[in-house]
C-alpha cells in the first residue's frame, strides 16, 4: 500500500526540530507510545500500544535511517511486529520544507503487511494508517505550534544551534513519523471481509 501526504506544522523548522529532539514531546505526539529508544545513531526502536476499533495490540517497531540529507529529507526503512497479529514493513521518503513561519513535512511511504493482518484487515489498512498519522501530526502541531508573535530573542543563536542539531532532530522527526506509520501498517484488523 502507498501512504503519502503533507502536513503543515505551525512553527519554524528550528522550533519543530528542537521540539522533536525532545523524547517527552515525541511520547506525547505518538498515539499510544510507551517507549522510544535509540539503538545506534541511525536506528531506533519504538513500542506502541495501539487501539483501533476492537483491535488492541502492542507493536514493536524498528527504524533505520538511510540517505540522510539534512535538512532536506531522507529515506527511512521500518519494520514492525505485533506478535500473532502480524508484521509490517516499508520505506518512506521524507521531505522538510520551510513555509514562511511554518514547516511543511511531506512523506511518501510504500509498505507491506503480512500475517493475520494481511488476511483479515485488508479493507482497513489504509484508513487506519491515515487516522494514526493524522493523529500524530495534529498532536505534534498542538505541542510545538507557536504563539502568533514569534519570540525574537532566539534569532541570534539559532543558526548555530540549527546546524549542530540538524541531524538529530531530523531523525527524531522520523522516529515519530515512522512509529506512526509502522503502527498504522501494523495495527489494523480483525474484520472478516
Amino acid at each position: 500500500m502507498n501512504l503519502s501526504g503533507e502536513h503543515r506544522i505551525n512553527a519554524p523548522r528550528e522550533v519543530v526540530w528542537r521540539a522533536l529532539n525532545d523524547p517527552v514531546i515525541l511520547h506525547q505526539a505518538i498515539p499510544g507510545c510507551e517507549a522510544v529508544e535509540q539503538e545506534s545513531p541511525t536506528s531506533f526502536t519504538a513500542r506502541v500500544k495501539a487501539k483501533i476499533g476492537p483491535v488492541s495490540a502492542v507493536f514493536s517497531g524498528r527504524v533505520e535511517l538511510k540517505d540522510l540529507d539534512p535538512p532536506a529529507g531522507c529515506v527511512i526503512s521500518a519494520e514492525g511486529t505485533g506478535g500473532v497479529a502480524g508484521f509490517a514493513s516499508g520505506d518512506a521518503r521524507i521531505t522538510l520544507r520551510e513555509d514562511g513561519q511554518a514547516t511543511l513535512l511531506g512523506y511518501d511511504a510504500e509498505g507491506k503487511v503480512g500475517g493475520k493482518l494481511a488476511q483479515v484487515g485488508a479493507r482497513l489498512v489504509e484508513a487506519s494508517a491515515n487516522k494514526i498519522t493524522n493523529a500524530f501530526f495534529s498532536r505534534l502541531d498542538g505541542l510545538v505550534a507557536l504563539p502568533e508573535t514569534p519570540p525574537p530573542q532566539s534569532t541570534d543563536e539559532s543558526p548555530t544551534i540549527g546546524h549542530r542539531r540538524q541531524e538529530v532532530p531530523l531523525e527524531r522527526v522520523l522516529i515519530g513519523l515512522v512509529a506512526a506509520l509502522v503502527i498504522a501498517l501494523g495495527v489494523v484488523a480483525a474484520f472478516l471481509q
Binding site: G53, A85, K116, A189, A190
Partner: protein, 269 residues
C-alpha cells in the same frame, strides 16, 4: 483466544457498574466483530460484560412519529419491522448474512462504528438520536471517525430513536462476500429537510450537503445526476479505489431516490 473474566449483567446499571470496576473491560453484545477479534488474539480484554440478559435493551416502541429501538434488538428483528420505517427494515435485512442478523445488534453495530457498517447511514440519514445510560446524542454528533464515536469510557448505548421520514430508502453496493457496504447511501425526506448519509466510502459516515440541497429543489434521481463528491479522503482498498467509490456514491444515491419515490405510500406512525 486469551483468557478473560466473563460477567452476565442483569440490568443497565449493573453493566455500567461492572465496567467501572474492571481493569480493561469490554461490553459484549452480538459479538460478531468482537469474538472473531478475540479468537485471533488481536485484543485482550480483562473482562467481558455480556449484555444479552438485559431486557431493558430489547424494548421497541412507537411514539408520536418516531420509532425507538432498544440497543439489544437484533438485525433480523428490525428487518421484520417493515410496517413502521420500511427503509430501516430493508437496511437491517441486508446486513451480513442470516447468521449475522440473528446475533448482531443495533447498539453493538453503532458503538463499534465500522466504516462500512450499514446502521450508521440509517442513524445519520434519518436524523436519529442515540440514547445512552447517561444522555442523548444526535446521530450527526455520534459518529466521529474511523471506529470512533462520541461515547465516553464505559458509556452504554441503550436505544436509538428514529424519527419517521416522509420518504426514505437505502441502497448499497455490497462486498459480495461479506455484504459490508463498499458504498451505501441513505436518502431521506424528513420533516426537518432532506438528508443524504453515506457509509462505506470514508473513514466514517458523512452527509452530502450538495445532494441534500438538490433534492430539496427536486426530489428526483435526475437532480443528482451531475453531483459528484470529491474523492479526497475516501477509502482505498483491494475492493475499490477512491475514484470508484466517489462514482458509486452518486449511483447509489440516485437509486435510493428512485426507490424512495416508488415506496411513497408513506410512513405514518
Amino acid at each position: 483466544m486469551y483468557a478473560f473474566r466473563y460477567h452476565r449483567a442483569g440490568s443497565i446499571d449493573e453493566a455500567v457498574r461492572l465496567h467501572g470496576s474492571c481493569e480493561d473491560p469490554g461490553y459484549l453484545a452480538g459479538g460478531h466483530t468482537l469474538l472473531p477479534t478475540l479468537k485471533m488474539r488481536l485484543a485482550q480484554p480483562s473482562d467481558l460484560i455480556d449484555l444479552g440478559d438485559i431486557d431493558a435493551l430489547k424494548h421497541t416502541a412507537t411514539t408520536s412519529g418516531a420509532l425507538t429501538i432498544g440497543a439489544g434488538v437484533r438485525h433480523n428483528d428490525v428487518a421484520r419491522m417493515s410496517h413502521s420505517i420500511p427503509a430501516l427494515a430493508g437496511l437491517a435485512g441486508g446486513i451480513g448474512d442470516f447468521q449475522v442478523r440473528n446475533r448482531g445488534t443495533l447498539g453493538g453495530s453503532i458503538a463499534n462504528a465500522d466504516p462500512a457498517a450499514d446502521y450508521p447511514a440509517a442513524c445519520v440519514g434519518l436524523g436519529a438520536t442515540v440514547v445512552t445510560d447517561r444522555r442523548q446524542i444526535a446521530a450527526d454528533d455520534f459518529f466521529v471517525d474511523l471506529f470512533e464515536t462520541a461515547l465516553e469510557e464505559g458509556e452504554l448505548v441503550t436505544s436509538v430513536i428514529f424519527p419517521a421520514p416522509r420518504r426514505a430508502a437505502y441502497m448499497k453496493f455490497p462486498n459480495p462476500a461479506s455484504r459490508y457496504a463498499i458504498v451505501g447511501v441513505f436518502v431521506a425526506w424528513t420533516d426537518s429537510g432532506m438528508r443524504v448519509a453515506v457509509t462505506g466510502a470514508g473513514a466514517s459516515v458523512f452527509r452530502v450537503a450538495d445532494m441534500e440541497a438538490a433534492l430539496a429543489r427536486d426530489f428526483s434521481p435526475d437532480a443528482l445526476a451531475d453531483i459528484r463528491i470529491p474523492e479526497d479522503g475516501l477509502n482505498n482498498d483491494i475492493h475499490a479505489t477512491p475514484d470508484y467509490r466517489a462514482h458509486l456514491v452518486t449511483v447509489m444515491a440516485r437509486r435510493a431516490v428512485v426507490r424512495a419515490n416508488a415506496s411513497s405510500d408513506g410512513v405514518r406512525l
